[in-house]
């Protein structure tokens, strides 16, 4: 009599029990791996939160007093009604403190005044030598200074406007330069954060890969792919979710601490990094799924190719 050969899956209850047993053993035997994985995911989440914070970086910068003014030169053919409508529209834009229509003759008079003793140069100039212009004053502050270029860009593309000048004083120029530098710095830091996140995930992949030998052994003993990779998948998912949760919790605590006057800046940092309830839920789920996927990838049985170990 030959011993019985069992084919087909084992009873569900036994598979479940052995699955739990394998998961518990994986947790016990690879504690350091899972702790490192959770830390890796914490680093990755922190790096991504930092990217988010940096993307909203201007929201917690100190206010400034930069000012800017735009001068839009209107086409001669633009009817007065359209000119007034354009001025009214511009007044409604955020950051615009005032719009003034400067008729051609008034512009000429102002130029004469600015030329002073050399005003005689303008003698004999016919009416309408200078175009009618719109003087647009922006509210002071970094937003206003930064918006001047954007608004000028938009105005240049509108019908009825032949050209736009941006007038800035020295402080405004410095402010714009500072904003450009800040923007580049934010991008650089966000890139570094993204690289740190990728490096952390690569670390998770490497430490999970250490279980490869065990996976190959279990595969050889006749455990199915689910039994081999399932425990690692669940542990990886748990590590990912735990790492992400730790950082989200830390940001929440930071948000609470922001009620203290000295730590008010933390509120903006936390708000930028948290990215709302949906963002937090997405980060939690994504970290869990990513952790599980990486662990599955690290422990999956080898493929079947000719003349190679099965």
């Amino acid at each position: 009599m030959t011993p019985a050969m069992s084919v087909g899956p084992a009873p569900l209850s036994e598979r479940f029990r052995w699955g739990l047993r394998l998961t518990a053993q994986a947790l016990r035997r690879h504690r350091a791996t899972w702790v490192l994985s959770a830390l890796g995911f914490a680093c990755a989440t922190a790096a991504l939160a930092a990217c988010l914070t940096l993307a909203h970086g201007s929201s917690f910068q100190a206010p400034a007093t930069g000012t800017a003014q735009l001068v839009a030169f209107l086409n001669d053919a633009l009817p007065a009604s359209d000119r007034d409508a354009l001025a009214a529209t511009l007044r409604q834009l955020p950051g615009v403190s005032g719009v003034r229509v400067l008729p051609s003759d008034e512009a000429l008079g102002r130029m004469r005044a600015e030329l002073g003793p050399r005003a005689a140069l303008l003698d004999g100039v016919e009416d309408g030598f200078l175009p009618t212009t719109l003087e647009i004053a922006l509210r002071p502050g970094r937003q206003g200074a930064g918006r001047a270029d954007e608004l000028a860009w938009r105005l240049r593309r509108m019908g009825g406007i032949s050209d736009v000048d941006v007038l800035r004083n020295e402080a405004d120029h410095r402010l714009v330069t500072e904003q450009e530098t800040s923007r580049h710095l934010r991008w650089a830091l966000a890139g570094a954060g993204a690289l740190l996140a990728l490096a952390s995930l690569a670390l998770v992949g490497l430490v999970t890969r250490r279980q490869r030998a065990d996976a190959i052994l279990l595969d050889g003993l006749g455990f199915t792919a689910w039994a081999v990779c399932g425990p690692a998948f669940f542990m990886g998912a748990a590590a990912g979710a735990a790492g992400a949760s730790a950082i989200l919790l830390a940001l929440h605590v930071a948000g609470r601490l922001a009620s203290l006057p000295a730590l008010a800046w933390l509120g903006a940092v936390a708000a930028g990094g948290l990215g709302g309830a949906r963002g937090q839920a997405a980060a939690f789920v994504a970290a869990g799924l990513l952790g599980g996927a990486i662990a599955w990838w690290g422990t999956r049985p080898p493929g079947r190719t000719s003349a190679r170990p099965l």
């Binding site: 084919v7 899956p9 030998a213 003349a307």
Partner: protein, 275 residues
């Protein structure tokens, strides 16, 4: 040709899908060819192991013994030929179906590996876990298997802390646990004292008496002599080919596919080719 899974398609309910069938378990390799790095390792080998026998494969280093066992244990895919285990050609199975075959094979590789940070008993229990046996029964069977090779006292140790000989004994116990239908052992007496090798041979004989088949490869002349005295059938391998006149297997030209007449054909006396 579609490659079907190993699981029997007749039943649909998961609880009923598992079948424990008592069969005349036979391993048969038909015209197996294996190349590694362009070098011919196994050259059209046809070998079979019947239920209730020990098949001993001799050969010098590099003769292809280990690769032959790997192919027979469904660990390595040959370049050509068929590997029949019971009534399944494992070379035609899907990757996902291989575990269902492997769990019926007790395999001891040349360098036994164990799950790290687990005791010897827990490691020996693992094949039974793959078969879905209850944990309590698996532990009992594991202890019994350790007793067969005489290391029941080492059950609570970590395999990493054991000597090479003890690790080999533990691996053999793992292969024998639960009395699998097919046991494949590479160098069963390596690193073992004469007493331990005798215990291993006794355990292998016990598996055969239970109706299983044992295939082992050895270059140890003392072990070969003892196994032959115990009734083992010998085959000699040289440069990937069977040496004629040694053992009982000679391939019959023109006869391919051992299951042309169904699984029962494996027990057909006509299949005993040559002598």
């Amino acid at each position: 040709m579609a490659r079907g899974p190993l699981t029997a398609p007749a039943t649909t309910k998961l609880a009923l899908a598992r079948q424990r069938r008592t069969i005349a378990f036979v391993l048969r390799l038909v015209a197996v060819t294996l190349r590694l790095g362009g070098e011919l390792v196994l050259d059209g080998l046809t070998v079979e192991a019947r239920a209730g026998e020990i098949l001993l494969i001799e050969g010098n280093r590099g003769a292809g013994k280990t690769k032959l066992l790997e192919v027979a244990a469904a660990r390595r895919q040959p370049d050509a030929g068929e590997v029949w285990i019971a009534d399944h050609d494992v070379t035609a199975l899907q990757r996902g179906s291989l575990p269902f075959v492997r769990r019926n094979i007790g395999y001891v590789e040349a360098e036994p590996r164990f799950l790290s940070r687990m005791t010897v008993v827990e490691n020996v229990m693992m094949p039974l876990g793959a078969r879905g046996e209850p944990a309590a029964w698996a532990r009992e069977a594991a202890v019994r298997a350790l007793g067969k090779v005489g290391i029941v006292g080492l059950g609570a140790h970590d395999p990493a802390c054991l000597s090479n000989g003890a690790r080999r004994l533990a691996a053999i116990a793992r292969a024998l646990a639960g009395v699998p239908p097919l046991v494949i052992v590479d160098e069963p007496s390596a690193s073992l004292s004469a007493v331990d090798a005798g215990a291993v041979l006794s355990a292998m004989c016990g598996a055969v008496e239970g109706g299983g088949a044992v295939v082992c490869a050895s270059a140890d002349s003392a072990f070969v002599a003892a196994a032959t005295a115990a009734g083992a059938r010998r085959l000699r391998l040289d440069a990937g080919r069977l040496v004629p006149g040694v053992g009982t297997m000679v391939a019959l030209p023109g006869r391919r596919g051992p299951l042309a007449g169904g699984p029962d054909a494996l027990l057909d006396p006509q299949m005993e080719l040559g002598s």
